[in-house]
């Protein structure tokens, strides 16, 4: 598009009446590079993103009655979509579906809207909602998903993921490499391959992990009252440490002893020379370190 057409577009749009927007159906297309950066923000309703093999994005959906404007900023390397509502109360659902080049990087943000992403094969996915759920199915180099009260899930391949929820559950599978998962009261379930660096935190939610630890890799899990169960291959070698004030520790790796000169029980066991390390701590939650 050259500058002359650009001026015309501006002039035309200045005439578009407001009433056309509310309750409107949307159907737009843009040419995009295969590795474009895409960001979309929608407060309420749903955001569905699907990757395809076209160098093009297509947005379809229904704008809620409270929409004041649909802000779009597009170039070949970047697409930004922002649903702006009138006021703060009574925000109606806006349901959007966006088809994007499967290699595009995504940055998705919602408040009560659910986020559903799949068929991506890209560098980066960031998705966050406040009370909506976040579900991602993708092969991505770097994933960050979070919700406050919604559930978050990932399935696919990645070797760097950060997942956070306060009261929602976290379900991750196909992950490996660097992992960070934090919850307060939600449960956490991880199916992982080889972990190089894993950091899991919970207060009262239960944590269940199936994984192996790479040589010189490290997995740390900390809990207050939530139970932590870690399943490792019987051949896993390294340093196994666990401690709990009043929770029960059961293990297939080494044996549990009472803490000398203090309350609680602990475990410290070394096997082999892999340099791997598993460390689990709880206050009252039970701890299991078991063979898969």
């Amino acid at each position: 598009m050259n500058v002359g057409n650009l001026k015309l577009v501006f002039a035309m749009l200045a005439l578009a009446p407001l009433s056309v927007l509310a309750g409107k159906s949307v159907d737009e297309r843009w040419d995009l590079n295969a590795d474009a950066s895409i960001s979309i923000e929608n407060i309420a309703g749903e955001i569905i993103i699907r990757g395809w093999d076209k160098n093009e994005a297509r947005l379809t959906g229904e704008l809620g009655n409270s929409v004041a404007e649909l802000e779009i900023s597009a170039s070949k390397s970047s697409l930004k979509i922002n649903v702006r509502n009138r006021g703060q109360r009574n925000i109606n659902a806006t349901d959007l579906k966006l088809m994007v080049p499967s290699g595009a990087s995504l940055d998705v943000s919602a408040v009560s809207a659910d986020i559903d992403i799949s068929d991506m094969d890209n560098e980066r996915i960031t998705a966050s909602s406040v009370s909506g759920d976040v579900d991602v199915e993708a092969s991505s180099q770097r994933v960050s998903i979070e919700s406050v009260s919604g559930d978050v899930s990932f399935d696919g391949e990645t070797d760097r993921i950060s997942a956070e929820s306060v009261s929602g559950d976290i379900e991750l599978s196909g992950i490996s490499g660097q992992i960070e998962a934090t919850t307060v009261s939600g449960d956490m379930e991880l199916q992982a391959g080889e972990i190089k660096s894993g950091r899991l935190e919970t207060v009262s939610g239960d944590v269940t992990v199936n994984c192996e630890i790479s040589d010189n890799g490290k997995l740390t899990a900390e809990s207050m009252s939530g139970d932590v169960s870690i399943y490792l291959p019987a051949s896993q070698s390294g340093l196994f440490k666990a401690q709990s004030f009043s929770g029960r520790i059961t293990t297939d790796f080494g044996s549990v002893e009472n803490v000398k000169h203090g309350p609680g029980s602990h475990l410290k066991h070394v096997s082999g020379k892999s340099g791997a390390e598993v460390r689990v701590e709880s206050f009252s939650g039970d701890i299991k370190l078991k063979h898969e």
Binding site: S149, S185, S246
Partner: protein, 179 residues
Amino acid sequence: MKESELQSAIESLPRSIRPQRDLWPGISERLETAGKGDKVNYATPMWRAPALAAAVLLALTGGIFIGRGMDTSPAGQPSQTAMEYALLGTVAAVEREYQAAFRELVPLDYSGLRLEGEEPDALRGSWEDLLQAELSLMAALRQYPTDIYLNEKLLDLRSQQLQFVKQLAMLEQNNWRRT
């Protein structure tokens, strides 16, 4: 358009423009601590500096120090090393700050958040779990006030509680942004 008209139009442009999303998380994860370190003024590596930094940030006046016999070593305990006394002393200081801060939080008021549906209940549930963990931990600490593990767990919990509060503050701030 005259030069002077352009200048006054430029004068009217805002010098501050809020980004459409919070950029801090992207920044925070890239902040390296190697070399800088989370340096604080005591030597023990057992400390989680963010908990203390947060307490200082929240510094509120007043607050009641819940005495847990910090100065005396319960019978049967081995003598504490100087490092451990430093740790316990700092926990006491952190506790003063946190007690004052979190007393304010107990009657949590969600009306400012304008969140819909089951959101406030879910958050309240999480906050109650945090409080429950605190009660249990405090009970244990009354029995074993100088236990290093329990004191570390207390710092972890404070950090988690602070994180929760920050998330609420962020939600509130985002609500303001949308007006």
